[in-house]
Amino acid sequence: MVAESVDLETRAERAESRRGLLIGLPTYLYLILFFAVPLVIVLVYSFATRTRTGSTALSDWNLDSWARVFQGPALEVSIRSLILAAVTTLLSLVLSYPFAYWIATRPARLRAILLVLVMIPFWSNFLVRTYAMKFLMGSEGPLSLISQLFGGPPVRILFTQWAVLIGLVYGYMPFMILPLYAALERMDWSLVEAARDLYASGWTAFRKVTLPLSMPGVVAGSVLVFIPALGAYVTPAILGGGRTPLLGDYIVQQFLQARNWPYGAALSMAVMVVMLIATVFYFRKGGRTL
């Protein structure tokens, strides 16, 4: 009797896992074909050799490209990109938190409308929006004209790091607002009342209760902004004018101008590994605050 019932249970479990596989199958296939396979190709290329003519020889496997990953101009570009991504993340966080907090504390109906407003930019093409930013910040653009109208100097920020920073913050802020909102919307506000009841001022209650409890949102938003900001290509290319290369356009340069595919591949993989480590570390740390 007992043996039979165990047998039934195992059979049920096996059937369950078969069903799970079946449901996931289309996704698995898609991801293997268009994500895992290209990734492996990039990895293989990073060990290949660049020939004199600029083509890639899939022979003479070596670690030369990897040895140069964090050296010379690459190191400089990496550090600049890291700083820019970090500043973008921090600025987005500082600008998004109060806004997410404000949305989360509105009546439910207004919240839905405000969230749609946050997402409206996604309805138009990113490239088009970036060109609009370029127009806006140009020396003959609206910002400059308004400044001059009030007797100020023309605004000359286009093709500087500032323009890139503004563009990045603009582009990625929704990715910060949404997870922050999700975390704050779930907040049990009676906890804040409890803190106030226990002699905490409004600010202290925020620091001791609201902020720690919204950390998962802060972590998720930061990761979602930091990672694309680190690898950003379009924004620095258009708003920065390619004058001070960042990781994204530096890697593109390796492939298109320098025609050094193995080096470009090694750089891409290195950036991915760094992001992966950062993500794991961040989520572990973020997870512990709960």
């Binding site: 009676s190 906890l191 409890a194 106030r196 009841d197 226990l198 002699y199 001022s201 709960l290």
Partner: protein, 356 residues
């Protein structure tokens, strides 16, 4: 009553068009266990929240120990709250939760440690000091919430349905514990509940609320034995409500034409509601000797319910509703079967005349 702990004068609270609390006057004495009792939405929690400082009254004045609170924020009021959902900080240990208020008031850390230990001993949770709230049972969480408030030695402790989430047995135990605790620490308790049994067993006085109004204030006995309105009578315990017309100085006429004795029912000709507790009614056999001056109505048992410690009978006596009679389950109390003819009998002094 000694000097008042909390005084509400003409307190009204409106949320838009909704009047949550309507011109409420209430004085709670120092060291008193006072319950605000009423159905959900009656304004009792809003009243509590105004005392705590989470809401401000639209009109009226609110004083705690003689001091007017005005727009003082919650952190500057000498009261602490035990929240309905406990509102324990999930990211802090039990000890940190309890220490929170003392830390905010910059009490020296050695003293904080000693006081936290003492209060955790009081609620028998010393051994769970390093646990997170999520690792505790409902009853334990409830006690942490209590400890977190009590450690601050507030002048007034506000409790918002603190036992609502516990199961029956635990709730009954906590009722006893809470009452004993209150006796021991001598702090004023203002206790919000919709559970009449809780209010009756623990309170020194009860205020019954409905639709934002304070209907009656009194000791548990006064509220239970002498409800002044139909609502209070009906909300607290089981009761028979009988419509009658005053026919003389101490007499009323029932719907079936029978005249019975009721002490000072009001002006002759007026329609009144009589309130009668089921346990004050007795059933007799038709031929049994009955107390001389008691009111007697002849009827027929149409339902019998067994409650373990008692039987509840519905007896049809020719009025709008059958009368509910509670008879204790004792060997010397006779039981009646469905359909049996009987006489319902009560002392005229047990009848309360209530307003609508």
């Amino acid at each position: 009553m000694s000097r008042p702990a909390v005084e509400l004068v003409g307190i009204t609270k409106r949320f838009g068009d909704v009047v949550a609390v309507d011109d409420l006057d209430l004085t709670v004495g120092d060291g008193e266990f006072f319950s605000l009792l009423g159905p959900s939405g009656c304004g009792k929690t809003t009243t509590l929240r105004m005392i705590a400082g989470f809401e401000y009254p639209t009109e009226g004045t609110l004083k705690i120990h003689g001091e007017e609170m005005g727009l003082r924020p919650p952190n500057e009021r000498p009261v602490n709250t035990v929240f309905q959902s406990y509102a324990l900080f999930p990211h802090m240990t039990v000890a940190d939760n309890v220490a929170f208020g003392l830390q905010m008031r910059k009490v020296p850390s050695a003293e904080i440690e000693a006081r936290v230990k003492r209060v955790l001993d009081q609620v028998q949770l010393r051994h769970r000091a390093d646990a997170k709230p999520s690792q505790l049972s409902g009853g334990q969480r409830q006690r942490v919430a209590l400890a977190r408030a009590l450690v601050n030695e507030p002048e007034v402790l506000l409790l918002d349905e603190p036992l609502g989430a516990l199961d029956l047995k635990l709730r009954q135990n906590m009722q006893v514990e809470l009452k004993e605790l209150q006796n021991r620490v001598g702090i004023t308790f203002i206790y919000v509940t919709h559970d009449q049994e809780e209010a009756l067993t623990m309170s020194d006085r009860i205020g019954v609320m409905d639709e934002g109004k304070l209907l009656q204030v009194g000791t548990p006995e006064e509220i239970y034995e002498g409800p002044r309105s139909r609502f209070v009578a009906d909300f607290i315990g089981d009761i028979n409500l009988i419509t009658a017309t005053v026919s003389g100085p101490d007499r009323v006429r029932l719907g079936n034409g029978q005249e019975i004795e009721v002490r000072s029912p009001g002006p002759v000709g007026e329609e009144v509601t009589l309130a009668l507790r089921p346990e004050r009614l007795e059933l007799y056999d038709l031929d049994e000797p009955m107390p001389e001056n008691h009111t007697k109505l002849r009827g027929k048992v149409i339902r019998r319910m067994y409650y373990g410690d008692a039987y509840f009978y519905d007896v049809e006596v020719g009025l709008d509703h059958p009368l509910e009679v509670k008879e204790e389950n004792r060997p010397d109390v006779e039981t009646y079967d469905m359909g049996e003819e009987t006489v319902v009998c009560w002392d005229p002094a047990a009848v309360n005349v209530v307003t609508d």
